[in-house]
């Protein structure tokens, strides 16, 4: 491990051991103080801005982010004298009554609480014990704690969870009922609701292996890859459009298929990383590996007339640094674009050196080629077909067209130098051999072009990475691209994290970077493993062990259970980056199987559920809100992969787009009912439904979506034609398949939507809505006809329309229930 090549591992190790003895989220009056948990956050928040890593903005030459700096002689006194608060200037300055001396300064808007002042004073008195930032300490395996209850834990994950709960005097929640379990698992692993027969099978299968068989079935489902892709595409900011100015379409959907397939095939996560960052640099890259390099092209680009290439080169470089550091390092290296990082040890030089890895990505064609085309021209791109045969065919026919065109040109008389604008070659005499030959070529050319164009229609273009001569990378003073006085830098990883390889003269490549990111021995694989173990935990427990998923730095939050996070990271590493194995470990745990309804006492003690004394419950992500409604109604088209889909969208929504102007036409074929992750992702005008349910615009890396609950979301679920159509299709199903009585039909409807039967109150409420609605629609047949004609699905002509419309209202109510859109 070379994270701390200068022999800091020993200190690091001691810290981790130290952590095991602390269990509360923060130190109480009698607990020992832990630097990373209790002190660093206070210093970082209140002091580092002026007394931190940024050398150019350091006040009084005092550096408080390192032990040496904090205890340095400042001319007869020290900020901190370990063990002696009375002699420590820091303590004096945070406790003084004199506003001119007080730290943090009054005008900073920061103020320490009494508890924070006490903590700092006690910490100094205890010897001011320091430790390295937790995230940069190599993870180590920790023994599972002993628990009083030995029956509850099913695996070692549970022993950590239970051990912690017991120390807090808390008990885990009882196991969720089997209906909740299969709903939770199916949503979590496939993004879809379970079918009623699947629920019945599981509920009735009392075999002890039933749960594991269910998990295995879901992990093997092709929809597992889709579900994981939803998360991955947020991280890497995948979208169908360029983002800036005209927000034109660009060609990239095969990359999405690659991601889905990689998760389905359980591709080792290190390989997945290497292929995306540097697939083009692997020996004899396969087509899939080249498609994977689309990653380097996912950033926002501009095609605005009047763009200045130098400016956008700088913007693109910064974008790539923000993304690669956010995705793999859980770090905000982007902050070091204009100055050294204020809170973490990243320097400006680190920022530019990291950007230099991508200086060979050929991404400048659009600075020269035509702007404002739809789709945008973003060479280099390649053709992708479902099968290799067609790809070879296209290559053949493209070559044919080229050679025929050349031959045609060769045989036509050349254009004279001073020819007028509308000059045309003199027609050759009829019957001349050249003319006959030209006619033949013309005919052949026409055929060749037709075959080629037909092939292009079934293929898709996708942006890929092609390496070119690397651009020179300079440090831009204060991030100013007009200033070319900065030092030239070569690709390098952040200095404090070590370096890549030996000091050989060869330039480090994207492939070197990818290996470094994933190697526990020669790089930061331990850190990367921890970043992703934390994110998988978030996906299956609703909140991270370290709460801030994309900032493991000083301004993030230290993990609540560092040993558990360490062990998960080690598990991920030692399994050879086996994603499905890690996921299975998490969902097989008893912790995962807990119920989500918790007593008020537990909720107030641990509002964000970081101790996992229960399962979390939350509204489904945007795509799944859609998928769920389509699945329940029976409309869902569950084909995996392919080009993007355009569902209904309010007319005129793209009217502010220009260069060129855009009209949106929803798809009228099967694509209308595809899953949410395939929806055309227009960065500037994301589909209003996705937006209403917090899907990000994908301009930047998103590790964690907000989970809002707004009137706009309510209006969407009530009135968006997609949901109205799903309701009337669901109504048709209810009427046809749900038996003949209102009771049996409501039972059918509830079992499809929420996997259970309605109780008396629910049945009565919906029956009232049904009867009132039916009466109204019998009086207003025109209204009924309009409602049941929403969307493209054919209107059944053998069903009573007033009845169908009334059931549509019932279906709308059911699709709007909190329970329907909640994972719990």
């Amino acid at each position: 491990m070379v994270l701390f090549p200068r022999g800091r591992v020993a200190i690091a190790f001691a810290v981790i051991l130290g952590l095991t003895s602390h269990v509360l989220p923060e130190a109480g009056a009698s607990d020992a103080i832990d630097f990373n948990r209790d002190i660093r956050p206070i210093l970082s928040e209140n002091c580092f801005y002026c007394h931190g890593p940024d050398a150019n903005h350091r006040e009084a030459d005092l550096r408080l982010d390192q032990f040496a700096g904090a205890t340095a002689d400042l001319g007869g006194y020290q900020a901190i004298v370990p063990g002696d608060p009375a002699k420590s200037e820091l303590v004096a300055r945070i406790m003084t009554d004199d506003d001119d001396l007080l730290m943090p300064p009054v005008d900073s808007g920061k103020k320490l609480t009494k508890r924070q002042v006490d903590l700092l004073r006690r910490w100094v008195a205890d010897g001011a014990k320091w430790s390295e930032p937790w995230a940069y300490v190599t993870p180590k395996r920790h023994p599972s704690p002993r628990t009083r209850d030995s029956r509850w834990p099913r695996n070692w994950v549970d022993r950590f969870v239970l051990g912690r709960l017991e120390k807090e005097g808390l008990s885990p929640s009882p196991e969720a009922d089997r209906v909740t379990l299969i709903r939770r698992l199916t949503f979590d692993l496939t993004g879809l609701p379970p079918k009623p027969e699947e629920v019945d099978d599981f509920v009735n299968d009392r075999d002890p292996g039933a749960y594991e068989r269910l998990v295995d079935r879901l992990l093997a489902s092709p929809h597992f890859g889709e579900r994981m892709a939803i998360y991955w595409l947020d991280l890497v900011r995948f979208a169908d459009t360029v983002g800036y100015h005209g927000d034109q379409d660009h060609a990239i959907t095969p990359y999405r298929d690659y991601v889905i397939e990689a998760f389905n095939a359980n591709m080792p996560f290190d390989q997945f990383t290497r292929e995306q960052l540097a697939g083009d640099l692997l020996p004899n890259p396969t087509l899939a590996q080249r498609v994977a390099t689309g990653y380097n092209r996912l950033l926002q680009t501009t095609h605005e007339g009047g763009l200045q290439p130098k400016e956008y080169r700088a913007i693109y470089a910064a974008d790539r640094v923000r993304n690669v550091s956010g995705v793999w390092l859980g770090a905000t290296v982007g902050c070091a674009q204009c100055h050294d990082h204020k809170y973490d040890p990243y320097t400006m030089k680190d920022f530019y050196a990291l950007s230099a890895f991508f200086a060979d990505v050929n991404d400048e064609a659009h600075f020269r080629n035509g702007t404002n085309t739809l789709p945008a021209r973003r060479d280099p791109e390649i053709w992708v077909f479902e099968d290799d045969e067609n790809r070879a065919k296209l290559q053949h026919w493209e070559g044919k067209v080229k050679s025929l065109e050349a031959e045609f040109k060769r045989l036509t008389p050349p254009k004279p130098k001073n020819a007028p604008k509308n000059w045309k070659p003199e027609p050759l005499p009829a019957g001349s051999p050249t003319r006959a030959k030209l006619e033949t070529i013309k005919g052949k050319l026409k055929t060749a072009k037709r075959v080629r164009d037909d092939l292009m229609k079934i293929g898709r273009r996708t942006m890929v990475t092609v390496a070119t001569e690397p651009r020179t990378t300079r440090i831009l003073p204060r991030g100013n691209w007009l200033d070319e006085t900065g030092e030239v830098v070569l690709p390098a990883v952040p200095e404090f994290m070590g370096k890549i390889g030996d000091d050989s003269s060869s330039r480090a490549s994207r492939l070197d970077l990818a290996y470094w990111l994933m190697s526990p021995e020669e790089g930061v694989g331990g850190l990367t493993a921890r970043v992703f173990a934390n994110r998988f935990w978030y996906l299956f427990f609703g909140t991270g062990i370290a709460k801030v998923l994309d900032d493991f730095g000083g301004q993030g939050e230290p993990p609540v259970q560092p040993e558990l996070l360490d062990n998960l990271a080690i598990e991920f590493l030692e399994s050879g980056w086996d994603v499905k194995r890690l996921v299975k470990l998490l969902v097989m745990s008893q912790a995962y199987r807990q119920g989500s309804v918790a007593p008020e006492s537990l909720r107030s003690k641990d509002p964000y559920n970081q101790l996992v004394g229960r399962q979390s419950r939350y509204r489904l992500p945007a795509e799944m809100v859609r998928d769920n409604a389509l699945a329940i109604s029976g409309l869902l088209v569950d084909q995996v992969g392919g080009s993007s889909a355009k569902p209904y969208q309010p007319a005129g929504y793209y009217r502010h787009l220009n260069f060129p102007t855009r009209t949106y036409s929803h798809h009228s074929d099967q694509r209308q009912w595809r899953r949410g992750l395939y929806i055309h992702w227009q960065r500037q005008f994301l589909h209003p439904m996705l937006k209403a349910f917090d899907a990000p615009s994908r301009e930047e890396c998103t590790a964690q979506r907000p989970r809002s609950n707004t009137p706009v979301a309510a209006l969407t679920l009530l009135n968006d034609p997609t949901f109205v159509e799903a309701s009337r299709a669901f109504a048709e199903r209810i009427v046809r398949e749900g038996g003949s009585t209102p009771e049996s039909r409501l039972d059918f409807a509830f079992r499809h939507a929420v996997s259970r039967s309605p109780d008396e109150y629910e049945a009565a409420t919906l029956t009232r809505l049904l009867e009132t609605s039916r009466k109204l629609y019998q009086d207003e047949p025109k209204d009924a006809a309009e409602l049941v004609a929403t969307g493209l699905t054919p209107v059944p002509n053998d069903l009573d329309q007033a009845d169908l419309a009334a059931w549509t209202m019932v279906a709308r109510a059911i699709l709007n229930l909190s329970e329907t859109i909640t994972r719990n």
């Binding site: 926002q300 809002s708 209204d783 109510a813 909190s818």
Partner: protein, 482 residues
Amino acid sequence: MTIPNELAARLMRRAFLGQAGVGFGSIALGSMLARDLAAKESSEAITAKYEGLRGFPHHAPKAKRVIFLSMSGGPSHLETFDYKPTLEKMSGEPMPASYTEGQPIAQLQGKELRCQGPMTKFGRYGENGQYISDFLPWTAKIADDICIVRSMVTEQINHDPANTFMNTGTAISGRPSMGSWINYGLGSESENLPGFVVLTSTGGRNPQPIASRQWSAGFLPSRFQGVEFNATGDPVHYVRPPKGVTLDQQRQLVSAIQQLNAHRNELVRNPEIDTRTAAYEMAFRMQSSVPELMDISEEPAETLDMYGAKPGDGSFASNCLLARRLAERGVRFIHLYHRGWDHHGGLVRYMGVCCKLTDQPVWALITDLKQRGMLDDTLVVWGGEFGRTPMYQGKGGVGRDHHIKGFSMWLAGGGVQGGITHGATDELGYNSVDKIVHVRDLHATMLHLLGIDHSRFHVKFQGLDSKLTGVEEAHVVKEILA
């Protein structure tokens, strides 16, 4: 429809920001964001009407709301408010290189740079004789109400990033727009409408695209994002019940949903369901309040004439009238975009078109607000994302390129002194040289008028205390305060 009394009472009792001792915005958001992000299981819930941050406003506000008139594309300061006789004299001569060397340039990169004199006449209007061009005869009538700032500077030279900079204080995507910031700080005065409303219109040169990022809430909770109201189709997306469903039926449906959710909640005790109840309540109210608001046909004919508005035409005139109606109904931030001001060529012709569409409505808006006594607490801001070069560009007739080192905006009402001109550019209208006002100074001043100290209004994002005014120093422009 009403929420059951007991629930309504419970919702109202709960302070939006919970029980934590909240001193600053940053801390408040910490808990709020976390709450929105994590499975929200604490005992708080969101009321339909958000009351703003504790401790806000910091001082007594002069302005309660803002109407921001974005002249998107970048109107020429040299043909509106910045009269440059020297530039007139030098028209056609090479632009002195001392001005342009090493400066960012947009479409004129690598081209020969020549001076282009003003393409219209200027007059002096109002008590203090402010310069206003002949393109703006109606604005001239309100000379005593507006404060012209002729020394604006910005940092971004292309439209999209420049608009983002004007709205969010940075060119990096993902930051909150000023309308979101202000609603987050001060809360909403309306129970039926969102606090941040956006209206757009077209006309002029081929309009620049405008991204919804311009009214994004960025890292603030999404309830603070701007909601675009449309002149045609549904005034707000999905605000109308589906075809074949009356508003009455929609009420029955929403009631059934509310009852079923409340019933379920007795079993699962999920505070999120209470929040959803409030959201559905507001959603239902919007189904009637928004169409009512957008229907300007009920306005007296003389009012419609004053603005030059025709119901349903989606014009800037109609949007100005709607701005007044939104202001009356307590909307905090009303953002109008007119998108035809990018005059690389045919400047005289297109200025004619844009000014004809916007000049009178702007006069009408100021006059109408004044007559209703609303101008005193409504801040109106007019301006583009940048200005235009003193240099000639000829893309289809004489025009000007983008320019960021000096341009003009104006402010009116809401605690701003009317009838004054602030700051100046150099004699060629290139660099702001006197009393320079950076975009962040404009933001600081707007916040100040709203009762907010910009330096104490920050939100923790990616570890930093992010502010609308950014990381550099920003100053309230005290000289223009009333």
